[in-house]
């Protein structure tokens, strides 16, 4: 009998381990390493949100809450959805979980039977296919190329849907590409989905407050209210309010689905941390100026990084509308040799050699099911980003 259950063996080993291991070793050796690999804002949680947590501590909010979150938080989430997207959810149509990741996990485990298919546009966050696989489902990746701005074409979605399709799952704006869909672009997608009433729709909008150049992202239910009774709108406080460590995510959706997810959560973790829930209420209902302040800084950084990467020979980088990632192609570098004599045979070799020779940590595209690229997170101080991009330029210039 093997140690682990078969379902666990289906999860692929982390592709980023090689890089993070080398990065850690270099840092321990005193090397100057700049990490552009993190998936979290470099800002601290705003003070007024911390203050709300501290008040909750002092008020003894240390007991079990409803499994799906306190009513006060679910009301705040409902208000947030109404304010930001115009979608009306009642508190019964909302669940709060330990991070948006648990929302996805709950949704998949609550709905997937063995062999059910889940359509995921790629590049994608690797947890999407992993969670689907863990829940006995089958990820169906639909590649979205750089020339389409890493966005799904409606005809490709149509072609991917089969009678076994259980979910269509999208991330808007996207990790790892930063690509974001406007309401008009989503309309073409929702038109396809309307024709397939057996498919659940999940939209993970966790980055939607981080958009640039006046871009306005759409969201499925706002664009097509007729999909509301089979759409799960996922969000959280991690990215917008720099609250990753608090672990609070949430979703709005039809009562039957929310109830099913609640049931599952009641048997796996119960309620999310009660103090963090109080902090999340303040984040959602308190002053929102910190969000705009962080957004502005991210926008300056995006502009800097895109400009500098496009000046690196062999790289091409689009100018994405959201999130805090860019996803440049390194196709022009493949097959060349680095200054240190390493053959850049693929994106992983590029990332590893860049780290070894210039001390810049990135994540290679294979980790997002879409090789030939690297993901660069610009959640770093501006000066640090400038230095990192200078090193990348030098690295690329010296390839031969």
């Amino acid at each position: 009998m093997s140690l682990t259950a078969e379902r666990l063996d289906r999860i692929q080993p982390s592709l980023t381990i090689a890089i993070s291991t080398v990065a850690r070793r270099m840092i321990a050796e005193g090397k100057n390493v700049i990490s552009l690999s993190q998936g979290e804002p470099d800002f601290d949680t705003p003070q007024h949100i911390k203050d709300a947590a501290i008040r909750a501590l002092q008020n003894g909010e240390t007991k079990y809450t409803d499994v799906s979150g306190t009513r006060a938080l679910r009301q705040a989430v409902a208000e947030k959805f109404r304010r930001d997207t115009g979608i009306d959810y009642t508190p019964e149509e909302i669940i709060v979980s330990t991070g948006a990741k648990q929302v996805l996990f709950n949704a998949m485990v609550a709905t997937l039977n063995a062999g059910d298919e889940v359509i995921i546009p790629s590049p994608c966050w690797v947890s999407y296919p992993d969670i689907v696989t863990l829940a006995d489902g089958k990820p169906v990746l639909v590649p979205c190329g750089q020339n389409a701005g890493f966005k799904l074409r409606p005809e490709d979605l149509e072609a991917a849907i089969t009678p076994n399709t259980r979910w269509f799952m999208m991330n808007n704006p996207s990790n790892p590409t930063g690509a974001a869909y406007s309401a008009e672009e989503l309309k073409a997608i929702t038109d396809v989905l309307l024709r397939h009433p057996h498919v659940w729709v999940l939209t993970d909008d966790i980055y939607d407050s981080l958009v640039y150049g006046g871009f306005k992202p759409g969201t499925i239910v706002a664009v097509e209210p007729r999909l509301k009774d089979r759409t799960l709108t996922v969000h959280g406080v991690s990215k917008a309010y720099a609250m990753t460590g608090w672990r609070i995510g949430f979703a709005g959706g039809p009562v039957a689905l929310i109830k099913a997810m609640d049931k599952l959560q009641s048997q796996s973790t119960s309620n999310p941390n009660s103090i963090a829930q109080a902090a999340a209420i303040e984040a959602l209902t308190g002053p929102q100026d910190s969000v705009e302040a962080m957004r502005k800084v991210f926008e300056e950084r995006r502009n800097l990084v895109v400009k500098m990467l496009n000046e690196a020979p062999g790289m091409t980088c689009g100018n994405p509308d959201g999130a805090f990632y860019v996803y440049p192609s390194v196709a022009g570098c493949i097959g060349k040799t680095s200054k240190g004599g390493v053959l850049i045979k693929d994106d992983e070799a590029f990332a590893l050699t860049l780290l070894a020779e210039e001390g810049v940590a990135t994540v290679h595209g294979a980790a997002f099911c879409f090789p030939g690229y690297i993901r660069i997170s610009y959640a770093n101080a501006t000066e640090e980003l400038r230095e990192a991009c200078t090193r990348i330029q030098r690295f690329c210039r010296e390839l031969h």
Binding site: M1, T4, A5, E6, R7, L8, I11, G39, E40, D44, T45, K50, A53, I54, L57, Q58, G60, T62, K63, Y64, T65, V67, T98, K101, Q102, F105, V109, A110, T111, L112, N113, D130, I131, L134, A135, W167, H198, V199, W200, D229, R230, T244, G245, W246, R247, A256, L257, K263, L264, S266, Q267, S268, T269, S270, N271, P272, N273, S274, I275, A276
Partner: protein, 402 residues
């Protein structure tokens, strides 16, 4: 609407939650409800835990934590296992989860394939069977009868084990009965387990510190160090430190199992709330005198409950070693009619009639796989518990034969 998974239909909402919701509805309708259903202490979290969380937030400890817990908390857990149970775990033999519940969930999800069997002595917390069923495993229930102090007999465990058995789950002290096996009783179970090297042992010790009359709760790996490499020791801060809402549980076990559980958690929730972890470390490391105060209160209430329940017509109540529950037998109430005219055929009937006629909320034994019993939580203020018990006596007094 698109559909749901078959596995979900095997899971139900916990009966204690259902009863709590019913009680809340009656309360909202203005009824004077006494709630004896809750599984959480009625005390506040220790000030040092609150202060530590406060500091963590202020100092910017608000980023993604490592998925298996912060180093500081894992070190505190290491000291705790050594101090309380004489158990040495390396840091990579420890993992932190969102409540003890998630430790169990991770372990079961990471190891149980469809058709695998898990031996569970009952009465037991309902979550064990539910999680096994969620993984398409088969719960194999072993009765821990009242005449054995609600403890499992080693020979019954032995008989339940087959080549498909993956786990034996022990819960000491036990929810819902409060029963706690002594070191000697655990040693007898260990002797059985030595003959079955293919079986993991899970020791859920969430209530370990809540024991009375000088009883000392020991954990399985402490009694059987030679079985430590296939034992998972689970506990947390919820019950000992009145920190239920913080959602911090943890486990010590062999490295490959801990690693598999962390992989599982990485896909389900990732790491655990950072402020909660800081608070838990402070609770584990600080002075432990707050625990003594709570133990004294729970003992006082247990004694009161056992005495008053045994004075209720038709009820007999065993006196448990620990936890904050008693599990009275209501066989003598069955086949009777209440003053409200309800006929009592099952413990669920008793439970519902008690709520609707006397506004006392309890949970029926069937929800814990053993009838006809009630679970009564003593994590209730003394005066409220007293009033609840008085009403149970009135309820029993009013029962008449058909």
């Amino acid at each position: 609407m698109p559909g749901f998974s078959q596995r979900l239909s095997r899971v139900e909402l916990a009966a204690s939650v259902q009863m709590t919701i019913k009680a809340r509805e009656l309360k909202a309708a203005g009824k004077p409800v006494i709630t004896l259903t809750t599984g959480e202490p009625n005390f506040d979290s220790p000030p040092r835990a609150i202060e530590a969380a406060h500091q963590a937030a202020l100092l910017g400890d608000t980023k993604y934590p490592p998925q298996d817990g912060t180093r500081a908390l894992k070190q505190a857990i290491q000291r705790k296992f050594r101090r309380d149970s004489n158990l040495d775990y390396a840091l990579d033999e420890i993992t932190v989860s969102n409540g003890g519940k998630q430790c169990i969930f991770n372990a079961v999800m990471a190891t149980v394939d469809p058709g695998d069997e898990v031996v569970i002595p009952v009465p037991s917390w309902i979550a064990y069977t539910q999680m096994v069923q969620l993984c398409e495993g088969v719960p194999v229930l072993v009765s821990s009868p009242q005449n054995n102090g609600f403890k499992p007999r080693p020979e019954d465990i032995d008989a339940a084990i087959t080549p498909r058995t993956r786990w034996l789950i022990l819960n000491n002290p036990n929810n819902p009965t409060g029963a706690c096996c002594s070191a000697g009783e655990l040693a007898a179970i260990a002797a059985v387990m030595r003959r079955h090297p293919h079986v993991w042992i899970m020791s859920d010790d969430m209530y370990e510190h809540l024991v009375f009359d000088g009883f000392k709760a020991t954990t399985f790996a402490e009694v059987a160090p030679d079985l430590k490499d296939r034992t998972l020791t689970i506990t947390g801060v919820s019950k000992t430190y009145a920190m239920t809402g913080w959602r911090i549980g943890f486990a010590g076990g062999p490295k490959p199992l801990i690693k598999a559980m962390t992989v599982m958690q990485g896909q389900a929730t990732a790491g655990v709330s950072t402020v909660g972890q800081a608070a838990a470390a402070a609770a584990l490391d600080g002075p432990q005198d707050g625990v003594e105060v709570q133990i004294a209160a729970y003992k006082r209430r247990r004694d009161l409950a056992v005495e008053m329940l045994n004075a209720s017509k038709g009820i007999s109540c065993h006196k448990p070693e620990g936890a904050f529950y008693v599990f009275p037998n209501v066989a003598g109430c069955l086949g009777k009619i209440t003053t409200g005219g309800r006929r009592l055929d099952t413990d669920e009937d008793v439970c519902l009639a008690l709520l609707e006629e006397q506004y006392v909320a309890t949970v029926h034994g069937a929800a814990y796989h053993m009838s006809p019993f009630l679970r009564i939580s003593t994590a209730t203020a003394d005066d409220e518990l007293l009033e609840g018990l008085k009403r149970i006596q009135v309820f029993c007094e009013g029962l008449r034969s058909i």
